[in-house]
Amino acid sequence: MNEIKPPRIVKTAPEGDEWIPSTCNLCYGTCSILVHKVDGVAVKIEGNPKSTVGKGRLCGKGVSGLMTHYDPNRVRVPMRRTNPEKGIGIDPGWEEISWDEALDEIAGRLKKIRADDPRKLSIQRTTTVYTMGLPWAAFAPGFGTTNVSEGGGGLHCGNSAHQVSGLLHASWGVLPDFQYCNYTLYFGASKGHAAGHNSNSNMAQAADARERGMKMVVVDPMCNFAAAKANEWVPIRVGTDAALALAMCNVLANELGTLDEPYLKAKTNGPYLIGPDGAYVRDVESNEPLVWDSKAGSAKPHNVADSEDMALEGEFDVDGVICQPAFALLKEHLKKYSPEYAEEITTVPVENIRRISEEFAREARIGSTIVIDGITLPYRPAAAIAFRGLQGHRNATFNFLAVLLLNQLVGAADVVGSCHGFNSSFDGIPETGRMGYKPKAGPDGLMEVGTWMAYDPPYPRPEPKKPEEMGLQDLFVMGMTSPFFNSEEGEELWEKFDMPYRPEMLINYGANIMMSIANKDLIAESLKKLDFIASFDLFMNETSDFVDIILPDRGYLGCYNTRPNTPYIFSHPAGMGDWSWAIQQPVVEPEGEERIFADVLIDLADRADFLSDINAAFNAVFDLRGEYRLQSDRKYSYEEVCDADLKNNFGPKRGLEFFKKEGVVTWPKTPEEVYWRPFTDARVPIYWEWMPDLGKKIQAISGSAGLDVPMEYYSALVEYLPCVSHKCDHDGFDFYTFYYRDTLHTNSFTMENAWLDEAAQLDPYSYNIAMNTASGLNRGLEDGDMIWLETERGRKIKGRVHLTQAIHPEGLGIAALCGHWAKGMPVAKGKGIFYNELLELDWDYVNPVNLTLDLCSKVKVTRAEEC
């Protein structure tokens, strides 16, 4: 068994001068860091070279963490509002209070709600410090509420990406196997070129890959961070990627015939027989889906026939039912997505569509193998990936599926060089075997994930029912973060569904939902309806205008976290190399009265009389066993919980004290872990058989509340469906807006960081509206002009235009979450454009499968007067 080798940090320093290992949280890349502390002050932050996570590198955001930590505008003491009136820009009249006063008041309200109906409490948290979610994952269930959300960071970012990646790759997201990939297609993604999951490690791997000769083709409305380093940028009309991807699938399947048939037979539900009703034809005795065994000349259950003998095409009579393999239906279905059709929708020229399809097919090297560490593996050095940019549209589910289908057709899934899920398989910690997970076959032989970020895995899905969750996710069972927490429709729908409670209280952890979800007036109204809001935060931001008690958070340089990089499906390097387990620990003492938020949660649980429940929840969340299980009625510090977690996983000698000193342990990955697909007897769905039936069941319930489900989104076969913006035919509305994640910033809080702001002001894009040069000049605009953008519904934003050739002629690109107005963030205030002011939050703009919000708009552009 592999031995864990704790790396030794050999920097020697005089007393009062030390380097402390921890983890960054300026974004959710969670890179391992070393913080140089001199006489109690953090003076420098670097990457930790001993960790696989970041590989010793740190981006500009990470090194600037000092500026966020020592920002004089930080909230340092608990405060309570004295002005009962809540509204945008209305002074709350903050008064400083003690922690006891603050927590007594909050606990008193929690007790009342818990006795009445604990679901009246909702919790929102930021994705920025995603990995600090575990205390919340214990607090919410311990209290008894299921109403949890992640604001815009959840709603905008990955509802579809995670779902579809989970179904097809058993992971939270996908990226190329950079070490061996030769050809990669990016659709609305920037893996390895900007922030996000495992950012620094990916950047190193991507740079090495480009140097090695990997060809990158980036499909994006803007020649941005990824496209700027690509071999080819494919400008595309905003929100139409699925049409392009499906046309490419059509070329592969019906023109070139470049298909990995053994892969399709063995690893997908392509061979499953489909009847005239669109459903699986099932074995009468076992109820398993049938396939046609070509060798035997008869139908057999999928788990009885040999994959090699399964038919992918043809028409068969099974006891009088005429049926076809699912793949045959898919192949026929793809024909309507001709390259000519795709050109019309996307503006990508036909010849480019065919050329790129051919390149992808050629580079996939169907049928080839390679030996890695003595193991012979399929070799498919081509990968098509996608992420936030592609999935931020109403057709989110199918957009993502269309791209990943490219990989499925050529067998480029979780093998050498191909599209990978992030660390879908893990053998466990070597010395204890703990934490291991592997994908496996579930109902109908379809793949279940080995691990997930939450407790509702993507497959199998539960039955939809009349909802009792605020976000209606128990009705929309493929949904994740929901708009109904804050939308105007939420109240109406709760009424129609006879929801037995209404939200009364919100606890917020760092989510600036006034900025992150949609237009501010709508969110303001939803917040005003709540009786009480408590918020842990770093700054007085836009959401603080509606908060009743604000609690100062210590931030990432002051917290414990034993699992910043696990589960490994979220933010740990994929591909061959090492596993690393790092921790996060307090590096410096608080500047004011800030407390570790996890301790505050335990304190609240104690004051509100649910200590035994939060302890049971910690036991469940951390899977604590034996002597490390928390005793029911004892009040622990979070430091003690962390120690139990580490010893539970690594043994009695490697608890918190060990990790505080060593910072990280590493051990090597195996090819079987990394390239797990050939070793896993499970199939992925390229035909989503369950969808039509699921849609009907949901409609049967939602229809009663007047919420009609457009059934085209519940097709078994992937479709291109237009966004609301594509249907706009008003004169003068001729640009599509979209936002992108600026590599210099994360969510909304980094605009307050003085170093990052300085860098952003040097960048011509960060705080401006990018417009195509020719498009701008044709409208009489000049670089630097102030312009208004207005949607069909009259929502308007204003900003300075930057003319560039690096954007589609119809596109307007704006960096996300700028445009602050809060006085408590003076560095951020007034910088950039608040894109989300354009966003609606109603059903027309929501993906009816996974509840993603449509983030693009069709706007008219007019010159604005200079102030």
Binding site: P141, G144, V148, C157, D260, P462, D613, F679
Partner: protein, 138 residues
């Protein structure tokens, strides 16, 4: 469109690798159905409900006496008998038995399969149940 290029390789060396997992799998038979409980001895089960489930009753622990091959589904059925089916509707599902967000622990050890026996030796056990709700997204 010009001549279609022939992009297929001459020999598919990876096919055998794609087929290997199922050939190595021990069981090619259809999935077994729920085991029928035919035992006659009984075991004592103390059930502790936490979080949202604790609102169902103030009784803690809830003492049950069930046949010694009882499964989590049997435990839930017994709880439904005592407290009403509505109380546990939030954790049951026709597709998966017990929703994965409802975590069960038997004497501190997690039990993943709702159809697996709770106790293998007939000894008294403590079962803890809690509904977890993680934060998805990002």
């Amino acid at each position: 469109m010009g001549e279609t290029p022939d992009l297929k390789i001459s020999e598919d060396r990876s096919a055998v690798l794609w087929y290997s997992a199922e050939r190595n799998a021990a069981d090619k038979s259809a999935k077994s159905v729920d085991p029928k409980n035919t035992a006659v001895a009984t075991i004592s089960i103390d059930v502790l409900l936490f979080g949202l489930l604790s609102a169902i009753t103030t009784e803690s622990p809830i003492s049950l006496s069930l046949p010694d091959m009882a499964t989590p589904m049997d435990v839930v059925a017994a709880l439904e008998d005592r407290f009403g089916a509505d109380s546990f509707a939030q954790i049951k599902d026709p597709n998966v038995g017990i929703l994965p967000c409802c975590r069960l622990f038997v004497d501190g050890e997690p039990l993943e399969d709702p159809y697996a026996p709770i106790s293998s030796d007939g000894a008294a056990v403590t079962v803890e149940m809690i509904i977890l709700k993680g934060f998805e997204g990002g």
